[in-house]
Amino acid sequence: MIPSDNGGPAGVILVHVDANLENLIPRFLDNRRDDVAAMEQALAQNDFETIKSLAHGLKGCGGGFGFDEISRIGVTLEQAAKAKDRAEIQKSLGRLTQYLTIVEIVYD
């Protein structure tokens, strides 16, 4: 588990999100889970272009919603896809999956 570094309970990542975006967040996070599944499938097929494209999308949208970590993972994934670095792609997909599992949102 990732230890909390933001004042939340251990094993939880608290993210503060603008309350005006609350109705968009469930769909946004569902779409990121779909991204993980699509990238895992693409990796199995050595389709690095699809991974690069999806990673580019992660990079460009995560932080706008308040999820800076998703943008950071997108940066790493995009670079790994360009380098066709399977190990780094798998590691980053694991990091994203874990993040999506333990993230908790505070609307304010």
């Binding site: 603008d18 968009l24 999308g57 990079k59 460009g60 949208c61 932080g63 706008g64």
Partner: protein
């Protein structure tokens, strides 16, 4: 601040960002049309009337560089004043910045985009045109 008559054309293929940017302007009573790629953006631009275009650069079908170039050519051929086009890019490397400005973009902002940055762009460029 953005007022009722400000018309913005958002050309962006990422659905999450389309929803996000619409949420950013929701309370500002700003009319924002959305095009999902450069080709649709060009057609909407020609048939509409906008104070500002916010243009993603990497899109399927037609990218933002090409769409911007076509819009600038169309404005020239039709003796129109240039509408500000602000590029959206997740890769703010010097080469891309120079390329987007060379194709006719007025300015660029780097994704991910915060609410303050988005509203700031509308205030700075769209309101200046009115």
């Amino acid at each position: 601040m953005c007022s009722a008559a400000v018309r913005v054309l958002l050309v962006e293929d990422n659905v999450d960002n389309q929803f996000l940017f619409n949420a950013f302007v929701k309370k500002l009573d700003c009319k924002m049309d959305v095009a999902e790629n450069g080709a649709v953006g060009v057609e909407k631009f020609k048939s509409g009337s906008y104070d500002l275009v916010i243009m993603d650069l990497q899109m399927p079908v037609m990218d933002g560089y090409t769409a911007t170039q076509i819009i600038r050519q169309w404005e020239k051929e039709n003796c129109r004043q240039q509408t500000p086009i602000v590029a959206l890019t997740a890769n703010a490397v010097q080469e891309m910045v120079e390329k987007c400005l060379a194709r006719g973009c007025t300015a660029y902002i780097t994704k991910p985009v915060s609410r303050d940055t988005f509203i700031g762009i509308i205030t700075q460029y769209a309101e200046r045109e009115r």
